[in-house]
């Protein structure tokens, strides 16, 4: 449990910043200064240690009180014909408040990482999948197939925590675990075993990955492939991979939708998920979608249980209406359809709103700077640093309790959005 064991030192602090939600951080807090003492990585360091700057809300660049800022924001939303509540990188209660505001103001809700997330969601809604969660991987994986993804750049501690852990519940010989990359080449050494066994790499371009996956699935099914090569890979190498997967007791096929950054990548994700199902006819295998940074899982979960639908849902007609294409906030903004954008971004100061013609209200982490000053800026605290909260981990089932580590006086996203809703 996150607790202060000595003055200013917090143990077992969970990170809401990357999807893995490591919760073994040891953090020192001195006034408003936060430093990670143990178990940090690039992502958590940036997350916890970015300093607070602005404490005051602004309207058209001028410092104003919170009440005034709220009032101006409410005005902009009230007048809007196509309001969007976007970004949506925040905690449980921030998302709850955003959904309530969207319902009342007949807005569209979207999350900043939807382009990636929808590569998975569209598959879930079309054919579904068989997936697993992090503790299962940590204790059971014997063959890890990494598709089209360089895990360690976005999830620095994945291998340390989930693959090269010291021991498994079932006394598995950890060193015997096999790691195979299909697609991208690992950027570092995190995938190398403790005794120096390197990952096997079958490299191919994103442009070829769809057909490579299709051939792999066909080989798993025992089909005869005439071609000798696909995407620069020998079909015989893919045959060997198919055999490895069929012999495994609990293979885990993982990918990061954010890394499969090409058009229509959901069809490749679907091919991955369908081949996992095929493997399960005889042995056990599970998919592991990686992602969920900056609250993407939380936004989609809350939206689904409150409205029935994930992100890209609009309340324009007074009821939830889901359209991943027309209600794609990026598309709407580029096409000039949005008059007011409420951009919620409470984890990462780099994640500022896209440039657009829309009047912008930013509910953003203090420390954020803008190329173009928004109409309204309300600096908010970070869930897990400035106020308690809860967020979801990338495997969607586990959520973490976030604590309050310092008293900055910054309001929470929930409080600000609720105040705006009340002012409508």
């Amino acid at each position: 449990m996150t607790e202060m064991t000595e003055p200013g030192i917090w143990q077992e602090v969970p990170s809401p910043f990357c999807g893995i939600a490591s919760d073994d951080l040891v953090i020192k807090v001195d006034g408003n200064d936060v430093t990670i003492l143990e178990n940090g990585d690039d992502i958590t360091k940036a997350g916890f240690e970015t300093a607070i700057t602005d404490l005051s809300p602004r309207f058209n660049g001028r410092d104003v009180s919170l009440d005034e800022a709220v009032s101006h924001a409410a005005q902009l939303i009230r007048d809007a014909k196509q309001p969007v509540i976007g970004g949506l990188a925040t905690d449980l209660n921030g998302c709850r408040a955003a959904m309530a505001l969207a319902d009342k103001s007949r807005a569209t809700v979207d999350n900043m990482d939807s382009t990636a997330t929808f590569r998975n969601l569209l598959v879930l809604q079309d054919t579904g999948w068989m997936t697993t969660t992090l503790t299962e991987v940590r204790n059971r994986v014997d063959v890890l197939l990494v598709v089209g993804t360089d895990i360690e750049s976005d999830f620095p501690r994945f291998y340390e925590r989930m693959v090269w852990n010291k021991e498994s519940m079932f006394n598995q010989d950890i060193e015997s675990r096999q790691v195979i990359y299909l697609g991208k080449t690992p950027s570092g050494d995190a995938s190398t075993s403790p005794k120096g066994k390197k990952a096997q790499v079958l490299a191919c371009d994103d442009a070829d990955l769809p057909e490579v996956l299709s051939v792999l699935r066909a080989l798993i099914k025992g089909k005869l492939i005439q071609a000798k090569q696909v995407g620069g890979l020998a079909v015989s190498d893919l045959e060997a991979l198919a055999e490895t997967l069929k012999q495994a007791k609990y293979s885990v096929v993982t990918w990061s939708a954010g890394n499969l950054d090409f058009d229509h990548a959901e069809t490749s994700v679907q091919m991955i998920c369908e081949l996992v199902k095929d493997l399960n006819l005889k042995t056990r295998s599970s998919g592991l979608p990686l992602g969920g940074r900056d609250g993407a899982m939380t936004a989609n979960q809350v939206s689904a249980w409150q409205s029935g639908y994930p992100m890209r849902t609009n309340f324009s007609r007074g009821f939830p209406d889901y359209d991943p294409y027309l209600s794609d906030s990026n598309r709407m903004l580029v096409n000039g359809e949005v008059d007011t954008l409420v951009w919620v971004s409470s984890f990462n100061v780099q994640r500022t709103p896209p440039q657009s013609l829309a009047k912008t209200i930013v509910i953003g982490r203090s420390g954020m700077t803008f190329e173009q000053e928004p109409e309204v800026f309300i600096p908010v605290g970070v869930p897990g640093i400035d106020h308690v909260g809860r967020t979801f981990r990338l495997d969607s089932v586990v959520s973490i309790p976030l604590r309050k580590l310092r008293d900055s006086g910054l309001p929470s996203t929930h409080d600000v959005l609720t105040a705006i809703e009340n002012a409508l």
Partner: protein, 557 residues
């Protein structure tokens, strides 16, 4: 605020009241004695009307990861059933897997004042409570799932004593904020991860060498010794498998007289006779239920139409995947704790199997003698959405209607069932037992499900309509904690219910084992796994109501 409900026909089986005309007095959310100060703030004339306590759904999938997977997966389910925002209600949608807001409103409008999520994974309890927190009006709570988790199974494999197991169960219940303990396909969810495709009652899990029978005995004993009122809630082995009636009977006999609740018993009552190798086992099952007074069941009635099956039983859901309709489905292995499976499904009246399933459920209702030990559920949404309960009540209360519907179904199925010959019609009193008094007693809600002094003023008033479906669809009034929330079947106020829990005692020294266990093997710290009370009360809308344990509970630390 003092309110009087005048002249209603009271059905309060907890106090043996069967249609007597009486007045009810409510003050500050509670039912009180007839007061001496006769100045009422509100007096409502309910003469000629039927008055019962608010209904309690003791097994309904309303919150948690698998329910949300179902919602996300089925945009087509929602688009056909949208609910516009009003002054009072948030917008929502959904037929089989509605939004939590819509679910709460609909339950209240149907006269229900409490619902219990029956399959809360300990590692997912946080989410279950989040979703229930966003379910308006009704009280809620849940049963926490054990039996496929590594910690329990390794304790059993090591032959730890019962006290150690009791401690672990109590600890889990407290930190998941549960009111009961659930076991799903005991050890089977776990076995599937080791590639076992079936697990019979006396078959060993390959890794731990432990059988479902042993798991059931240990957990049932724990629940009893801890004084938890709700019996071990069991989703048995071999769900849906033709011939599983033998497994079910063996399970009932194998529990050695300990209290046990077998859920959605309909799915566990199948024989293999006839050309279709699928027959009704309801007569044998009902006989066992009648014989063993320690057994309670809920039926899990199926009704025809499109729905979604959402279950912790990933082993059986995976096996059933060829039957998914539409053809999409999810299976998950979860945290060495449990699993889940979500399959959309359509029950067809012209399918022999589905028609017979419908008949089996009704046969069971009609052949179990004691209405205190059989409960009205569709295992929402697995058998049908909860909004179909009024239709189900009509089938139970109106033999002519029931037989009319029966006569339209697959002809071979009709021949395979003796439903037509069952004349019994449920009375209002019996419905009140099954959906109120009995349910409250079973779950362990001391102050709900009845209309006696001291009880919470959760009250439903109906017009006594011979068309029982109409009657139970549209109550005249629903009161929640004394507030009128529904009038003429429409919501007029939105309140927020409480979360009912029990807090069995445990020896905290178990954390000396659990903390290093989490550290070594899990991906979340024990301390962060635990759910604080603040998380339940949250923004102030939520609250925790601790229900009493049974007297004579073994442990008092």
């Amino acid at each position: 605020m003092l309110m009087k409900l005048t002249g209603g026909k009271i059905y309060d089986p907890a106090h043996g009241i069967d249609g007597e005309v009486r007045d009810i007095y409510v003050r500050d959310g509670r039912i009180v004695e007839r007061p001496t100060d006769v100045k009422f703030d509100q007096e409502i004339d309910v003469r000629g009307k039927v008055v019962m306590a608010g209904a309690i759904d003791m097994h309904t999938h309303i919150g948690g990861g698998k329910v949300n997977i179902a919602r996300t997966m089925l945009p087509e389910d929602h688009a056909a059933d949208v609910v516009a925002r009003t002054e009072l209600m948030r917008s929502g949608c959904g037929h089989a897997a509605p939004s939590t807001l819509t679910a709460g409103y609909r339950y209240a409008e149907m006269g229900y004042t409490a619902g219990f999520e029956p399959a809360i994974l300990p590692i997912n309890a946080r989410q279950a409570h989040m979703e229930m927190h966003d379910t308006p009006i009704i009280d809620k709570g849940g049963y926490v799932m054990l039996g496929s988790d590594d910690f329990l199974l390794r304790m059993m494999a090591a032959n730890n004593d019962q006290e150690a197991i009791n401690n672990y169960v109590a600890w889990t219940m407290n930190h998941s904020h549960a009111i009961g303990v659930k076991v799903v396909n005991p050890g089977g969810i776990n076995a599937f991860k080791f590639n076992q495709r079936k697990l019979d009652l006396d078959e060993k899990n390959h890794y731990y060498g432990v059988t479902p029978r042993e798991i059931l005995l240990r957990l049932a004993r724990a629940v009893k010794e801890l004084g938890v009122p709700h019996p071990l809630h069991v989703h048995g082995c071999n769900l849906g498998v033709p011939g599983n009636l033998d497994t079910t009977i063996n399970t009932m006999e194998g529990i050695e007289g300990l209290p046990m609740h077998m859920t959605h018993i309909q799915f566990h009552s199948y024989g293999t006779e006839g050309d279709f190798k699928f027959s009704s086992g309801s007569a044998q099952i009902a006989e066992q239920i009648n014989k063993h007074k320690n057994i309670t069941v809920d039926v899990g009635q199926i009704l025809f139409g499109q729905t979604v099956t959402a279950s912790g039983d990933n082993m059986r859901q995976h096996a059933a995947h060829p039957h998914a309709h539409p053809n999409k489905w999810v299976c998950m292995d979860i945290e060495c704790d449990a699993g889940c499976g979500v399959l959309p499904f359509k029950y067809k009246d012209q399918s022999y199997v589905n028609a017979l399933q419908w008949m089996i459920g009704l046969e069971t209702f009609l052949m179990v003698d004691d209405p205190w030990r059989v409960f009205l559920t569709t295992d929402h949404p697995n058998g049908a959405p909860f909004t179909s309960y009024p239709h189900l009540i009509k089938l139970l209360m109106d033999k002519t209607f029931r037989n009319d519907v029966l006569s339209q179904l697959h002809p071979e199925a009709q021949k395979a069932s003796h439903l037509a010959s069952l004349d019994r019609e449920y009375t209002l009193y019996e419905i009140a037992i099954m959906t109120r008094a009995g349910a409250a007693k079973l779950v362990g809600l001391a102050d709900r499900g009845h209309l006696g002094v001291g009880g919470a003023a959760d009250i439903t008033v109906y017009t006594d309509n011979p068309d029982r479906e109409k009657m139970f669809t549209t109550p005249d009034y629903v009161f929640k904690d004394g507030n009128m929330v529904v009038k003429d079947g429409h919501l007029i106020d939105v309140t927020w219910g409480t979360t009912h829990v029990v807090k069995p005692n445990y020896d905290i020294s178990i954390e000396k084992q659990l903390k290093p266990y989490f550290d070594r093997y899990h991906t979340q710290k024990m301390g962060n796994f635990k759910i604080s009370d603040d998380e339940i009360s949250d923004d102030g809308r939520g609250s925790i109501t601790v229900q009493p344990l049974l007297l004579g509970a073994k442990y008092d630390y």
